[in-house]
Structures are given as structure tokens and as C-alpha cells.
Point group: C3
Chain length 158, copies 3
């Protein structure tokens, strides 16, 4: 496992590439940022704080992430929109033998065709990052968003 | 005092924890990021640039910060909302014998119950950071926000 | 050319100062962040992805940047507004003998007089940075924004 300054910069890089993959709709590259056995979950803050199980989006392996991407790009009927991520305030919550627990704030801006850009989804990431082969990957990624409205229009991962 | 790369990463960490404390409403932890004798002020850009004294929020010690937090959490009648901070563009404006003057841009998003997230308050921090015991703390924090509307709805610190 | 951690921190610093110059309307300082022969272009994402030549703003030298600034500050009739930049997700796309290709996401918030702050323009920077004398400067800066609406109200550089 990396440590110190190397770890910090490698984490910044991981989050930067995560945002770039989603915003450029490079979903195969996005999946490659997760370990094979992984846990991805998007959940409203209210549910998270009350420990309620309902998730807006969930996947428990790369295979399930691939299913979601297949839905987005092929079968799911939806009005397309652009995403733009800003991630800030990354810090390390804890270091274990083989993993680092991280936290960061994010804002996703949405731009629909012929409309102005708008705030779409803001919240925080609560993640577990591991060294997988020669690079850092997400073993767990939990996206806790602030709005208590369930955004049924949430199509793409955040 | 720290220097070079260590200082930069320690500053990034301080700002990340500052945002996390406010966004998770951990106000005691937030106060602990200031020195005992401190200066916290939130001011509209127009007043700042014309050197006008009016502040939207002000505290001159940890005690006054505690008063504000007591008001927020106990006595102040207000509609609660979530905050989400994004801080970027941190840089060092000057280094003195025992202090570092820093600047950064911030955006705070607000989410009211059953409403969508929205842009709430954007501006810049003009801060003075010192080594206090074994960690960095804010001796001064000046939040200059862009909107010339006085947000009487500004309840929580930004 | 710088490398490794020094390069990363110097790039973060360059982007932080870029944002600060624009947000404080210090346009001479902003121009000084570009090399003498430089290329600055603001283009909608749709045009960029289809390789269409139309730009919302373009300059091919410091002289042309100076012209633009002269227009903004002296001759151009427009309603003034404040800008506030947040830049995140900076990463290095490639390193050449004398230049570094970088990418970052940005959001610009606009505040008009007596109005609330709002999302104005979001997108990504695709830049080429070189060591010019003793500091990093932009040789090329391409701002690709997400909204397909041509913002004729885009007065200041982003």
C-alpha cells in the first residue's frame, strides 16, 4: 500500500479520473476503477442517517455495474443529459492493513439538451480504496446525497 | 511551522475537515478548528471591497462561536437545511514567522427538506492559519460572499 | 520542466491563481498566466465533439487577450456580474519534452447585482502548460462547456 504524500496524490488522481470517466460517458473505464468484488451504492442522506436500507442505485460486483451500464447505453429509455462532477474536500478517514477509508464532497451539475446547466445532485462519498494490482481501485463506494427527494431521474452513476 | 509540501497537504486537510464538520453539523469539532482567540467574519463582497464594517456574522473568540452554535442548535427558530461545501483553488498568499495567510474559493449548496439542492452562497475565504499545539488551526477566517443580497436566511456558518 | 510532486503542486497553484485572477477581475495578472504565443478558446461541448470550428471566444496571442480585456473593461456594453470559479479533478493527460497536457473540471457561478448566485457555466479545461522563464504558464487553454445554448451573455473569460 502507498503511504504519505504518494498516497494522497494517488487518491486525488483516482477521484479526478473517476469524475472524468463519468462526465465523458466512458463507462468501461469507470467500471475499471472498481475491484472485481465491489460495492457501489447511492443513497439519500435521510436513509443513510437512519440506517434504512433503501438505495437509489446499488451494485455488488463489476458484473452488476456492467448491467447498469448496459441499461444506460442500450435498453433504458431516458432523456440524455450531460454530467459534470466537482469533487472537493478529500480526506483520509482511516488506514487499515490493506485499505484506506476516504471521504469527499461532490456536486454533479446536469445539462439537458437546449437547457442551462443546473445543480443536480450534491453529497459526499464514503469510500474504501485498495491497491489492486498496480493501481488504486474502489472496493466500496457509497454516495450519500443531500436531497430527500428521490430523483427518479437519476440515470447515470454519480 | 510546517513548510513546503507538508504544509500544503496539511492545509488541504484542514479545509477538508472544515467542510466536513459544517456539512455534518458537528459544530463542536468545527469550533475546535479555530484558536482560542480567533476572528470569524462573514461579509458581502460589496462591503468588503468598500471597507464597510457591516458583517452578516461575526465572532471574536471561541466563546462567541460557541454562543452562535448554541443559538443554532437550541434557541434560534429557523427552518433547518443541509449544507454541502465545495472548496477549491486554495493557495498561500503569504508566510509570516508564525502564520500562513491563505485564500480559497468556496460554494455552499443548500438542501431544504423536500426540495432540490440549490446554490446557496459562493465566495472566497481569506484566512490566517497557525500551528496551535500539534495541529493547524484558523486564527482568522473571513468569508467574503458574492451576492449583494443580505441573506437573512444564513443560519449556519459557511 | 518540473516533475512528480513538485509539478503537481505547481499545477494546482497555477489553476488556483487562474481562478483568483478572473474572480477578482485582475485581468492583467490573468494574461500573465499565458505564454506570449498562446491559444485560448471557449467552445460548446457539442461543437468540440463534432470537431466544429465555431468558438464562443478565441484568442491566439497575449495581444488578442489584451484586446478582449480592453473590450471588457472599456468599450463593451454589458451588465456587470461577479464570477466565482471552482476547479476540481485536475490530472495530467500526458507529458512531453517541454510541456504537460492537463485536464480539469470547472464550474463558474455568476452573481448579478441584487440577485442570488447561480450556476453560469460548467465544463472542462483541456490545457497545455509549459515552463516559461521561472514559472508555469498556459500555452493552450481550451474551455469546453456543457450547455448547448450559446451564452451570448458570456462576457468575461472562464
Amino acid at each position: 500500500m502507498l503511504a504519505g504524500i504518494e498516497l494522497r496524490l494517488a487518491l486525488e488522481d483516482l477521484y479526478a479520473r473517476y469524475a472524468a470517466c463519468l462526465d465523458e460517458a466512458r463507462y468501461d473505464d469507470w467500471i475499471d476503477l472498481f475491484t472485481e468484488a465491489c460495492f457501489y451504492r447511492v443513497v439519500p442522506r435521510e436513509n443513510f442517517e437512519r440506517d434504512l436500507p433503501l438505495s437509489t442505485m446499488m451494485a455488488e460486483s463489476r458484473g452488476m455495474l456492467r448491467d447498469r451500464v448496459y441499461g444506460i447505453t442500450t435498453t433504458l429509455y431516458h432523456q440524455p443529459y450531460y454530467q459534470r462532477h466537482l469533487v472537493g474536500g478529500l480526506f483520509i478517514r482511516g488506514v487499515e492493513a490493506d485499505a484506506v477509508r476516504t471521504q469527499a464532497n461532490y456536486a454533479v451539475f446536469r445539462t439537458k439538451q437546449n437547457e442551462h446547466s443546473e445543480v443536480f445532485n450534491v453529497g459526499r462519498y464514503l469510500d474504501t480504496v485498495v491497491m489492486d494490482g498496480d493501481r488504486l481501485r474502489f472496493r466500496e463506494k457509497l454516495c450519500v446525497f443531500d436531497s430527500e427527494l428521490i430523483p427518479n431521474s437519476l440515470i447515470y452513476p454519480v
